[in-house]
Point group: C2
Chain length 109, copies 2
């Protein structure tokens, strides 16, 4: 779990359902994309969960609109997204948003 960060910042919510077939290369590509994203300017963090039913939510946090767009246009990321549409995802929805407020809670020991 990452954040909260100091607003304003940007996030992309990626909600997806896997095809459940043709998974070759999926895990390796997913790991590589997380590693590549983490090295980009403006990267703040990522939260990612996939449930037993195949539904997944990944949220990527970026310092500003520019860094989020630069990651979208990264060449290796574009190739991975195309393969995702061709092979790995049954459906997905992306929401790109500007964060206005953020807060966190941690249980006291």
């Amino acid at each position: 779990m990452t954040g909260p960060f100091a607003p304003p910042y940007h996030l992309a919510v990626f909600v997806s359902r896997r095809t459940g077939e043709d998974a070759e290369g999926y895990g390796e590509t997913a790991r590589l994309m997380l590693e590549l994203a983490a090295g980009q300017p403006g990267y703040l963090g990522v939260d990612s969960v996939r449930g037993a039913d195949g539904l997944g939510i990944t949220v990527a946090y970026w310092r500003d609109e520019e860094s989020l767009v630069a990651w979208r246009e990264h060449a290796q990321h574009a190739v991975a997204r195309r393969t995702g549409r061709e092979r790995w995802y049954e459906e997905f929805v992306v929401h790109v948003a500007r964060v206005e407020r953020a807060y966190g809670f941690t249980r006291e020991p």
Copy 2:
């Protein structure tokens, strides 16, 4: 999976880790909150996933800032959040954001 919706709209990302103990009432409350939220003005939808490791991400989508804030101030929701801090969550982070772009993909049959 819900959306995409026509921007602008608002969303709240809730990333949480369960305590793994004292779960009494958790499931029932979680279901009741989803049901209550769905009946509020401005409600667009919810996506929610919890992974095997206890990390969960819930994203709630609202027509505007006003409907999102009204849900935060709903009395039964406020009670549920307090119980969550007292008993169910080890930690959580909330990001409230205004959606600027959204798009979806569905595999052709």
